[in-house]
Each structure stands twice: as structure tokens, then as C-alpha cells.
Symmetry: C2
Amino acid sequence: MELALLYSGGKDSSLAALILDAFYDVELVTAHFGLTADFEHGRQAADALGFPFDTVELDREVAEKAVGLMLDDGYPRNGIQRVHEHALESVAERDVVAIADGTRRDDRVPTVSRATAQSLEDRHEVDYLAPLSGFGRSAVDRLAERELVVETGPSGEIPRADYEGELRALIRAEHGTEVVNSVFPAHDQTIVRGRA
Amino acid sequence: MELALLYSGGKDSSLAALILDAFYDVELVTAHFGLTADFEHGRQAADALGFPFDTVELDREVAEKAVGLMLDDGYPRNGIQRVHEHALESVAERDVVAIADGTRRDDRVPTVSRATAQSLEDRHEVDYLAPLSGFGRSAVDRLAERELVVETGPSGEIPRADYEGELRALIRAEHGTEVVNSVFPAHDQTIVRGRA
């Protein structure tokens, strides 16, 4: 059974891949706007874990709208949510039985409600799986430590293949680095380098 | 890492066991009130899947209170929820890193909210995992068909090791079969006979 997993190269989506690997033919798919080459970090992480990899290109207009939301809000949550939902819709277009992402129980964003999940499934005739949605932060950290080689550091420094890098780049190009730093609070991110 | 999974012998908790098996030393634990020998169906299913098995005895008073709720309500939801939370508390007393259950995304009962999960984890210093909470009904059915040999039939006829059988027995002893049938709507249940 073919499954496409929305992949950032980080700890969470990598663990999701390991969980699903026992039951599906998992392909890791990095969604991007074609604004930077950050998706290559997704490919490297996928290679290091031994999973097939592909990319899907997203609608540039969604990036512009997400950035507009973030600038209006002064924080990234709603913009990230909008992009994630668009990415799930795009991945669901693929010829697969199931799609998945790495959202965790304790994530504040992105979140995928039961209603959103059901709607995705009904419209695209795929199963939507969130294998980490029943795992809290401590369980995820414990598993990542046992199963993965992970590099951790401040977002903006750690190479990643998620949307944040591209949205940062878009804001930087139009509004400068100071605005980037005011919209995105400092937080740590992870990139996976291999299996433990 | 030792993990105790609350086990009914049915499809959902069996699939939860298979998912966690790659990462934990999974022990299947059937919780019961000592009212019937139904827990033996849990042992048989665990044997058929090749997992270690144990039982934990629950507080009889909780069964009485759950039955009281069910009779007052005229439906089983709140009583089942009460028993499930008590069972999780009991399993969390074990000397394990993590506990788990088979609750699915689309389950109406039992449900374990994020707040309840966090509280369980904090008070007992264990991780609480719900590996199927990111899987909808269609995905669970698809996986069960590929991975398990499952027998399906009306509840009350299919042997099971969950609380429903004991609560039914308790209501039957005190109020007769008609009351049992009025409280529990007809629904299908499953018992696992082995791996596919």
C-alpha cells in the first residue's frame, strides 16, 4: 500500500515514517514553493533513513497569503496552518492509498482536526494518518533519541525542508531580517542525519 | 522500553500492539473486575499474536458506579468512559516507561483528551500513547484486514475481554437481559484469532 508522507527532514516526520514503514510503502514528500532549494535537506534526510523521496510544488499564491496573515497577526501560527492544509491537499492528489504527516499530540500548529481529516479523506478517497497524534512530547523525544541521529539548533540556523524557511525568505526579501525575527519567535528545530 | 497496553483482544488494541511492537517491549494487559472469566479471551488473542499477557484487577466499586450511570443514562457511554479511565489509572501503576490503549480517531467512547493524557503522564511518570488516535475507521479496517485474522459479530455473542461483557453480566444479574439490551445498542465487535 503506497503512502505519501509530508516530510520536513525533522524529527517528527522522520519518526512518523519509521512507524508507518511496517505497514505501508512509504514515500517521503517535501512540499515547497520553489522559492529556495531547502527541499534538498529533505532529500538528504530521506536518503539517510533509506526512504524514497519526492517533492511536490505548492501554489505560490498560498505563500503570499500566508505571509500576509503572518505580518497582520505578528505571529506565524495561522499562516503555517494555511500552508500545511494546502500541502496536505496537494499530497492527497497523488496516486496513493494513504497520506500522512508528523503532527504530534502536543503541537499547537499545524493541527488537523477530525473534521478536516474526514473532509480530506472523503474528497480525495485516501486515508489520512497522523501516527504521532497519540504521542506526547516526552514519548517522541524518547523514541527519537533511541531511533534517530538528530541535529538540534535554533530555527533559521538548522537546515530544514519545511515551509518555514521559504516563508522566512519571502518575508526577508520584502521586509528585511528584523521583521522575520519579530514574526518568528526563537525556537529549536531538528534535522535528521540518520538512524541510531 | 517496557510498555503496558490495555488489551481487549479486539481489532483495535491488537493493531495498536503491532504498531508499538517495533519500538517497545509490549505487554498486553486485560483489565477486569473479577466478575467473569472473559479476560481469558484476551489471553488467547495475545497468545495467538505472540505477545506476553497479564491481567490487572479493577475496583469493583467502579463497576457498580458505571452500571449506575448506564442505567440512569439509558446508554453506556459515560459508564464505559469511567471504567476506561479507571483502567488506565490502574495500568499506569505498573513498572513501565509507557502505557497505551487502542482508542481510534473516530471513537465516540472511550476518548482520552489531551488534558487527561497529560494528567495521567504527570501523576504516574509514564508516557501515555494512543497509536491509533491518528487513524480513521477506514485505515484501521484496511490494516486489520492485511495484518490480522479477525472474527466479527454482534456484541454479546463475540467473546471479548473488554469491560462490556462484565458490565453486561452485572446488569443482567440485577436487572435481567431486557435491561441489558435496552442499555447496550446492537453493535458489532471483533476478536482477533491471529496474524494474517
